[in-house]
Symmetry: C2
Subunit: 146 residues, 2 copies
Amino acid sequence: MKTNRSNCPLTRALDIIGDKWSLLIIRDIIIMGKKTFTEFMKSKEKIATNILANRLELLIKHELLSVTKLPNDQKTKIYYLTDAGLDLYPIICELMKWSDRNLNKSFGPIGSKILDDLHTKPNDKIIAEATSSYRASRQEILNAIS
Amino acid sequence: MKTNRSNCPLTRALDIIGDKWSLLIIRDIIIMGKKTFTEFMKSKEKIATNILANRLELLIKHELLSVTKLPNDQKTKIYYLTDAGLDLYPIICELMKWSDRNLNKSFGPIGSKILDDLHTKPNDKIIAEATSSYRASRQEILNAIS
């Protein structure tokens, strides 16, 4: 897939995250606090190793994701979101709300927790809380490597 | 790709519209007023015939899109969105806004018009206007076939 099929902003976004996996990785990082390849592999959607490696590489290439290693563990790659990557959270919320409004309602516990929040709190507040909480955990990584 | 990889609402949504083309077709229907296969083929992203046919079929299968023929033209298939398909518009707006905030800003005229609106009007108002306008044009199709 060549990028920049057109200069429509929707197309530009889909050129990068228009697939079945990228936003699940972002979900796992923001909502589940996952940071490593092994943790991403454990998600219930059972992503294949090569697809995960490919998506991580693409997200890094487009500067939505960064990768580092902690001083006390030089073997494990630690992935964390850039601000542009974290800024995908409003899209994730809209997709969840669309599912909630239009698809069969037997969602699992993770989705249900977020949907409960989306039903009872203003959207902006949920996004601000998740963003601020993620920024704090990202800062711990950045402090450890600085 | 098997559907229902998990019961997370995000995954459920991506199982259906997690690709590079489906939301472009929805965009063309809502924003450009397109209704036919030939019109979809003319979009600047140059979708391949087989991909377009496949995506239309999938959108119909998941009841986001319906298809009919007008009494005065039994050759041309007319595609129109169901309420669940039209309800994807908030996701399209979030994707455009994310592009606008995070990607290089040289967008073409269609994107610029919508982004101007997204910058100057409340989100809810833009979505309500587009939805109401689309419902009116869909009603014309439904009247013609009733």
